[in-house]
């Protein structure tokens, strides 16, 4: 089998689920005749028809609300946000309708809302956001952020099959930059499980989405100095796999959390808070976070690069922790 890109893996996941489950359908802007702004749905209109690949008016709230209604009827809608930034326009439907629905009256909402998040592509503040932590606050939601092509496919399949509303934050920087050979067969992933990407014993580096690779780059650099870092790809943010991260930090005694969302209350803040409590007896250094400063995303390359939590910043922070 040849290697495919992260975005192609996402497309494949949707295609395979549409083939084998007629309840699955797609709503989004420009996903039909155009095949999606990022080509995530290329060819799907021809294969599955306009009733299952729906080109929507510009109404994120209506797209998501309609999908909620269809999901309660037993369908399995997948809603595309052309850029995840626009999920803000459908906030109420996600946070107040989909999320609490099962808790309130016992009715499941098997909905997936997916789209490209993240920056590093010089697209400024409304095409580069990482808003996942705004939703991690919402009870009843599940939040996934795959970092590899294998997981992009496996976890999207799992998300579509999950009876709960799942927000699927893809990272657009990874769309065509990573290519992997996918496993044979259905290879449905499992939500709620982090993965140790690289074993180590001196320091734990935690990332998700694009920062999974930032952590891997830091680990490679440290390895040249004889320091083996353990890299964890969170993969699912909610429900959070605290056990895997805790087991690692108990072993290494040091934790650096790298995330592209804004520092304050970005998902890494929750990771750090829980470790500060549960890992306290094993810590040899404070838990540190390298994240995006609390700023909107600027346009100019020099400005954006100043803010992105890149390999240089993460490596410097890791070295500081190793000095404790």
């Amino acid at each position: 089998m040849s290697a495919i890109t992260y975005i192609e893996a996402i497309r494949q996941a949707m295609w395979e689920e549409m083939e084998q489950d007629e309840r699955v359908f797609l709503i989004g802007q420009d996903i039909g005749i155009y095949g999606g702004a990022f080509r995530a749905t290329a060819g799907m209109l021809d294969r599955f028809g306009p009733e299952r690949v729906i080109d929507s008016p510009i109404s994120e709230s209506a797209m998501i609300g309609t999908a909620i209604g269809a999901a309660m009827m037993g369908m399995r809608p997948v809603v595309e946000m052309q850029f995840i930034d626009f999920i803000a326009c459908g906030f109420n439907q996600i946070y107040n309708f989909a999320g609490p629905n099962h808790y309130r009256w016992g009715q499941s909402v098997p909905l997936v809302v997916r789209g490209p998040s993240g920056g590093g592509v010089r697209s400024s503040n409304f095409h580069s956001q990482n808003p996942e932590s705004i939703f991690q606050h919402g009870p009843g939601l599940k939040i996934v952020a795959p970092g590899t092509a294998v997981d992009a496919r496996g976890l999207l399949k799992a998300a579509i099959r999950d009876p709960n509303p799942v927000l699927y934050f893809e990272h657009k920087f990874l769309y065509r930059r990573i290519k992997e050979v996918l496993p044979e067969g259905e290879a449905v992933g499992r939500l709620g499980e982090a993965r140790v990407m690289r074993p180590g014993d001196r320091i734990t580096l935690v990332g998700y989405g694009a920062t999974t690779w930032t952590c891997m780059e830091v680990a490679e650099e440290l390895a040249k100095e004889g320091v083996e870092a353990e890299v964890i790809d969170l993969r699912t943010l909610v429900p959070y796999d605290e056990e895997t991260v805790l087991a690692s930090v108990k072993k290494t005694g040091r934790a650096l959390v790298v995330y592209e969302a804004q520092l304050t209350l970005g998902f890494g803040a929750e990771v750090a808070a829980r470790l500060a409590d549960a890992a306290f007896p094993w810590l040899d250094a404070p838990i540190r976070r390298v994240a995006y400063p609390d700023r909107p995303v600027p346009y100019a390359r020099v400005l954006e690069n100043a803010l992105l939590p890149d390999k240089g910043k993460a490596l410097a922070a890791a070295r500081e922790l190793l000095r404790f």
């Binding site: 359908f25 009733e51 299952r52 729906i54 929507s56 008016p57 109404s59 709230s61 209506a62 797209m63 998501i64 609300g65 309609t66 999908a67 909620i68 209604g69 269809a70 999901a71 309660m72 009827m73 037993g74 369908m75 809608p77 109420n92 439907q93 107040n96 309708f97 609490p100 629905n101 099962h102 808790y103 309130r104 009256w105 016992g106 009715q107 499941s108 098997p110 009870p139 009843g140 599940k142 099959r161 999950d162 009876p163 709960n164």
Partner: protein, 349 residues
């Protein structure tokens, strides 16, 4: 401000001949019209009972009355087929009764009992049951419109020949979701009906501060769908208009916007004395009370006698006595339940 009546309201036998109420023409048989009468009374009497319980501190939180608007809930719901799905709002208790919700469930729900429809998890009409074709609302107005459009879409995909119906108040038509949802339903041509209850006030905001148009129904043209305005206090007119819209939707002709003109005869909720409403409006609309009008119609057209109607009312009264007592005697939920039920377990959907 008139105190809510502790009785179910006077019957008007003497007035029957002189002011024979001409309601909309209908082919509904006598039995069905008596059922409609029962649902109207059940709606009003249940809410009166809830109001009393609120005063006694046995019902807490928001208590929203649909007094004066019962014909809209009951008339519209009676036009639904068994496979249709409806999304009631807080002032559509009558709709829920027509769909088979029992007074016992309502009492248990309003008193947050463990064995009520949401087991203490949510308030007033915020409960549903897809098996009975009922979708629960959220408090954010308008949100249910795209959701019910989605129900209609799914019904079409599943070839279920169903129509989705929901409601919105005059205030709710100002929300973005009203626009997005109705436009979406229209563009996708789904089998969907929206009833806008023009009751004059959104909490304390009168219609003149809510919109510049006089009639909500004019907005139908903006979405390219038919609109119909109806006397919301004529239960037969509401029934007939809803039936037309539902039939149209079922035939594949898409959504309809119905505007039902009525008046909110109480405050926004039980705590609100509606002092901002000119008293003459209450006097004017009391004369158009939908239940009084329907009674006069039944009596004048020989569809019922006073005894028939008194019997129905007495039976409801006794039923409510039993169900209130049963609910009061039933347990509150255990505290541990607060932590449960956030997610649907895989396989349990």
């Amino acid at each position: 401000m008139a105190k809510p009546s502790r009785n179910w309201g006077p019957l008007h036998p003497a007035a029957a001949e002189e002011t024979a109420e001409r309601l909309a023409k209908t082919d509904l048989p006598r039995e069905r019209q008596l059922e409609i009468y029962r649902f109207l009374r059940l709606n009003r009497m249940t809410e009166d009972r809830l109001s009393n319980l609120y005063r006694q501190g046995k019902v807490v939180g928001g208590l929203y009355s649909s007094r004066g608007q019962e014909a809209i809930s009951v008339g519209s719901a009676c036009a639904l087929e068994p496979q249709d799905i409806v999304g009631p709002l807080i002032r559509n208790l009558g709709t829920m009764f027509v769909r088979g919700v029992q007074p016992r469930e309502v009492m248990m729900q309003y008193m947050a009992r463990a064995d009520g429809p949401t087991g203490g998890k949510d308030v007033n009409t915020h409960f549903g049951d897809m098996k009975r074709g009922l979708v629960a609302p959220i408090s954010m107005l308008g949100a249910l419109i795209p959701v019910m459009a989605g129900v209609a879409l799914a019904g079409r995909m599943q070839k279920k020949d169903l129509v989705a119906l929901t409601y919105i108040g005059d205030g709710g038509t100002s929300t973005g979701d009203f626009h997005e949802g109705l436009n979406f339903a229209a563009v996708l041509n789904v089998p969907f009906v929206l009833i806008a209850e023009h009751n004059g006030y959104a909490y304390s905001t009168p219609i003149a501060k809510q919109m510049r148009v006089k009639n909500i129904v004019t907005r139908a043209a903006a979405y390219g769908i038919p609109g119909e305005m109806v006397d919301g206090n004529d239960v037969l007119a509401v029934y007939e208009a809803t039936k037309r819209a539902i039939d149209r939707a079922r035939s594949g002709a898409g959504p309809t916007l119905i505007e039902a003109k009525t008046f909110r005869m109480r405050g926004h909720a039980e705590h609100d004395d509606a002092g901002y409403v000119p008293p003459e409006l209450f006097e004017e609309w009391k004369k158009k009370d939908p239940i009084d009008r329907f009674e006069r119609h039944l009596l004048a057209n020989g569809l019922a006698t006073e005894e028939d109607l008194k019997k129905i009312v007495t039976e409801i009264d006794e039923e409510l006595n039993r169900e209130v007592d049963a609910a009061l005697a039933s347990p509150m939920p255990p505290a541990e339940r607060a932590f449960e039920g956030v997610y649907c377990e895989v396989g349990a959907e």
